[in-house]
Amino acid sequence: MTDLLELAIAGLMSGLVIGLAALAVTLVFGIARFANAATGDTMTLGAYATLGGTAATGSLIAGGAIGILAGAAAGVIAYATVFRKLERRSPVAALLASIGVGFVIRAGLGLVYGHGQQVFQLPLVRPWRVWGIRIQPTDLEIAAAALATLAAVFLILHATPIGRQMRAVADDPDLARVSGIAPRRVMIALWALAGGVAAVAGCLLGIKTVVAPEMGWDMLLPAFAAAILGGIGHPVGAVVAGVLLGIAQETATPWVGFTYKIALSFAVLLLVLLVRPRGLFGRIEGVR
């Protein structure tokens, strides 16, 4: 039982990372209306930038801020150079181009940092024991950082004018335009937000595991699965689904083995698309 609980806690941790990645996917999917396959590599970029920033400044917090800025900048640059020009084309063109954007980011990181794995040099801390369950203090910090990021995103979406405009564009782009919302500003804010969120996800994943060029790409499938499970364009749904998926993956490990836990997100993806394509929280009109 305690084993299962410890697995569930591990699942919660990876679930928060998946949830953040899925949030980045679903924001873009809801507003720019395509599946952004560059999300994974933006995560990797955030992790490497945080690593570099931490080494340069000596503070993980400052490093994290640099990572977020790098992710946001990558998002805005990708929008300005590629996705803005594809707005009037089919979502397929943008999807294909986003694969290309991801490859370019990964190539750049590979050239600069090589293909080896790197780790965050954090002091080792003895785990706490609460009723016989081992809890890592770093896990609590990671969870706190993830929750703070979520709070910030929801604050931006619901309590600021630009967030209100984003939600309006997500609801009905044409209506938003005739209401006097400038689409360009909204899109730039969206890409900065999505890039920043992806960077946080990558940075937390890097702290929890290792930093490697393929780390973000490997998270893409779980992130897509969670975004679809939560209902496309539904930020709360994406996070809840991410956490559920993370817990399911970890607690299933004793039965399906370590390698197949990635396949679980594929199974979930198929099942959701078959049974309830609008996801847990999505609206019917969001899916055709």
Binding site: L86, R89, G100, F103, V104, R106, G108, L269, L270, P277
Partner: protein, 294 residues
Amino acid sequence: MDAYLIAIAIVTGIYVLMALGLNLQYGLTGLINFGHVGFFCVGAYAAAILASRGWPAAATFPIAAAVAVAAAWPLGLVSLRLRDDYFAIVSLGFSEVVRLVATSERWLTNGVQGIAGIPRLFADLSGTTQALAVLALLLVLNGLAILAMRRIVASPFGRMIEAIRDNEEAVRALGKDPARFKIQVLMLGAALAGVSGAVYAHYIGFIAPEQFVPLVTFQIWMAIVMGGVGRVSGALVGSGLLMLFLEGSRFLRDLLPFVSEVEMASVRIGVVGLALILFTLYRPQGLMGDFTRR
């Protein structure tokens, strides 16, 4: 030198066979198949496993195609009724799961070590003659595939799948079920990828899961996006360009000794990415594409 050129031609032929399959799926029907390497992998493993147990090539080829088709059928059945971009994600996931299975099921696939010593084709011939025979076989296979493609384009089935690509709603309004045709197209394309995988396994003689990463899928995408979507000539030209780029980067590395192999691998990924971006942005119909429509 001759041997090298023949080897290049053989690998190009393997790519062309895959590109023809993807061209049928994406170019003619509009299917966003991001898991093409999955079918290639299934075909390669089917051929390798059977050939290592003494089955003749005459049997491994059809079985490789059949196994790839058998993998495509349920995938198409569950996911081709969905939106295009959902199918893209599902097919990408499919190819990753195929690779996971190849990595984990050691009793069947020998895990990460892979399968070595796969019998070569035409083993009783020697040296250049053997390589030429493989090349001839590939030419025949590609010729058959191109002939079949031409027949399909000219047939009612071909008009139907092109109509699905251009306007699925209209096809549905005419009382046809687009999903049925899409599933058939997915299976046909998978068969080509499966056969291509079988040739690959027999020719290279060694397969391992790491050879079947999504990058392969997107190299083929790059080939057909560059060459021209929906054109047989596009698949040929694109595969040629792809091969030129892959081999060229190898030569470049020999000329530039300060560039490490790891860095070159990154450069290759970057070039594939740039090609996907630039062609999607500025030349969506590719080099040999149909300029009369977009």
